[in-house]
Symmetry: D2
Subunit: 298 residues, 4 copies
């Protein structure tokens, strides 16, 4: 198939390469002249042949995705399909699909997991959309997803929105799993009188144990490169899905103590000083007088 | 009554003053010559008259309390009573009472709340020990506790250990309550576009609202003195009881998400950098490549 | 002043009584013929005299509030003022104020705390709106708020939305504070071998201690009425503000572990069985075989 | 080598089989006549030949392990080695090693992960003890651990205690990871209007995604067997290590919000009714009157 991709960064660029290696024709557009195949989104659409043009959007979620989709909506028409492969909020999908439908343009949301490893390993895909559109796009999904049984690396999760919803929850889980390893790391590292090499412990968990996972393997790699993580600051961004997962849990009355704790730990990690803890310190000063820090609790 | 006090710091010294103001005779010992009434613990014991000498120990929990009680055990005898008013762990009480009983020395544990305000307001008291000993000591407890109905500021919570156990839980609750106000403070302060004066909001909660409390009043005082808490660092110590409360909850299979979250927030507040969050950051680097911070989640 | 109230339930009815007792003229409307003064909202508006008619809306947040305000918007006009005293989300205020402004109708949001005790104690009030409108309404606020200094029971928190925002945070804090006491209760009750009377411990915390508060007094009352809480099921509803507080924290990147834990505990309390814990149980079955429950962890 | 095993249940029995399959001679003792090779621990020790007898203890942690080790201590002597492969607390190891050393008996603690899958996949091993003893036992560890590079399934984590400490943290992490998946499961399942098949989503995460892991594969198996988990109750035991991990975190001032939340969720899952939530419900009744559940928050 001939596919257009908008956004050729670390994700989009690698996906272009993987698709081409699997025999698809890809025309890519990126603002960066060093990356792009064509000069504009208009040129991208013109380059696409066939009666159902397909454009995969792989740009940062939010305003950029919105403006790219708006521009594509003007350039595409009846029967064409836009796939949003970025980390959009599923409620944005629900809004977009209706707007595009008035022009006869199909819309599919695709949650894509795998990071920089996807080009080699394939990308875990969760997609949402109508059966026939997904069917039509399967050759592309099959090229992008990992080798092996299709259902182990790809899911048609439901109607539009389901792909990003599943990806949102995937990332919420990811936050919790990472934080679990991280807390374990700190508890091990706190006992350097007993545990002679924390990295070796994680390394030994890669086979046979209950906690073996791909994230564990990545942590082993990280600890091999920098055994005490001296070169890394404990400052962790968050990219939206974790927050949405907690919001969704709150709105559905689902208890999510682990995922929310992982999210809050990231918020904490980015604060120079915590207003809340200033308030607690102020309170202790009030009831303890100008007491030493150790003796103020009431 | 004539009472001995060992430890005349902010707590013990104020208690001496309150007891004297209420008509009791008090002899105090402190290492600090400026504070002490006598030269040694031995001299303190000698100064006490009557057939049942009473010594209130008001020194930091841990080694100091242990050594003071050991010294008192040697100096006191049959019928005398030691009261530990510090923040000892209740399991230490259970150990001590047996050791002292072999010498005929009585032992009572007293949890004391109220901080520097206790001299004026009276101290909230939770005590553990045998009925007859508590009965004997009631004039002292009545002098120390707040004015008003006895049962609103004093409780004989059970046998030895019960006083410190109740105080432990009191402080665990205190951690949770403080953290609740503190989180609310931060959420209000995050919206300075909407909330014109955060301190004024807390001030207005002092009457009529569901969240009115003494801690709220202290927070109002703190915010009046330093409206943005600019002069206070968000660094919060913990003094044992919060940890023990969580440990006790864990051992009794009691879910304690709020008290433990408040404790962990204090631990967090004291870390220059978090080993756990270094591990999370390292993981994100691994799967996101040298991605920008905002785009690495998987 | 002459004020209209829509909604004469436990809150609105008591407020009518308090306002009348303080010398104001009040006309109330309620669907319930036994409670209402007039037959319809239209009749209520007609009954109000003066050039600036004031109507206080005290109905459940959500659809009912929306429809009442819509009906009032049609009946009122230039210079009139609607006060929403229910637990609306502050973002609803931001939407409404603009819609009403096109008709020249003023809008004020009022967070009201105090429950059934408000009629006697006065209501804690947090209001949002323009200075001149708040100024105009002060006689009403002064009648409703607790006696004592105005700023200890009333705050003009900022522009429209600020009142409900402050109330939202108030309730978020309330969730955390209640949960802190509740966890402490359970930890005390778990040791009935040591603590002879849990209720007596809470009772003794009412004077002198750091954790004394109005909520503590309510818990003492509850434990006096039902010492082991045998007649109460651990099923706890939530009414919106707790969820919004957590959502707001998430959106502002404010760590809120305590308030969210308190919210999740309520969610938990309402589940017959937990889908999440079914998943954990299923996982343990998988790696432990048909192991006994005690031996399955990996 | 010739090895004795005490305890031939699901773990010990499978280990005997794996060791024999790998060419070792094993004599096993179990209370159950259907499982045991010999009649008593004494007979087991007698059956072992060589100058350094080795006995692997694989019985439930706690009293049973203590009594088995005590009996072995009497039967063994200078140069012999006891390995505790159960889930003992690391502090028990520190105590035992000294007691056994007075008799010249060596002691090694071995954390063993892998559950019923270990016989086929090999067991993840974390061991603590002196270099020369570990060296001597390596043929046994090599037979038990998974095939592949030794350091990916085995670690000599440090001196005695380090093996069980590492296993304790392993299980603490496991609790957190399981809970993260479980919360994600519940959030997905809450949207059956959008997600057509939750099991298919988990299935699709097995390749390419960031959250792929062995536990994920087990959850896929569980959901294939029982798609809505209808046959499983959300009742989850805990076996000690999770509690110890939280206690250790508390004692070392390490924030562990995720691991503790996972532990508390298990506690919750086992409560018929929650005393804490009864207290919250009682409080709401107090300030809300006999209000409907939905309207009581203050």
């Amino acid at each position: 198939m001939h596919l257009g991709i908008v956004g050729l960064g670390k994700m989009g660029g690698n996906m272009r390469d993987r698709l081409r290696a699997k025999g698809h024709q890809v025309t890519g557009y990126d603002q960066d002249p060093a990356l792009t195949d064509v000069d504009s989104i208009g040129a991208l659409v013109s380059a696409l042949d066939g009666d159902r043009r397909i454009v995969w959007v792989m740009v940062p979620a939010g305003d950029i995705t919105e403006s790219v989709i708006a521009e594509l909506a003007d350039a595409l028409g009846e029967g064409d399909v836009i796939i949003d492969g970025g980390n959009s909020k599923y409620t944005d999908d629900l809004r977009r699909v209706d707007a595009l439908a008035t022009r006869g343009i199909g819309y599919v949301d695709a949650g894509v997991s795998g990071g920089i490893w996807g080009e080699t390993n394939g990308y875990g895909l969760m997609v949402g959309g109508p059966d026939d559109t997904i069917e039509y796009l399967m050759p592309i999904f099959d090229a992008l997803r990992p080798d092996g049984p299709r259902h182990e690396g790809f899911v048609h999760a439901g109607p539009v929105g389901a792909g990003h919803y599943a990806k949102m929850v995937h990332n919420g889980i990811e936050y919790g799993v990472m934080q679990a390893y991280a807390e374990g790391y700190e508890i091990l590292a706190a006992r350097d009188d007993l545990i002679s090499d924390v990295g070796a412990v994680f390394e030994a968990w890669q086979r046979g144990t209950v906690v073996r996972s791909w994230l564990l393997e990545l942590l082993v790699k990280a600890l091999n490169e920098d055994p005490d993580l001296d070169d890394i600051r404990g400052y962790v961004a968050d990219s939206g899905e974790g927050r949405w997962t907690v919001e969704e849990a709150v709105q559905r009355a689902v208890p999510a103590p682990v995922i929310s704790a992982a999210l809050f730990a990231r918020f904490d990690s980015r604060q120079e000083d915590s207003p809340a803890m200033k308030a607690v310190a102020a309170l202790r000063n009030q009831f303890g007088g100008h007491a030493t820090k150790a003796s103020a609790d009431g």
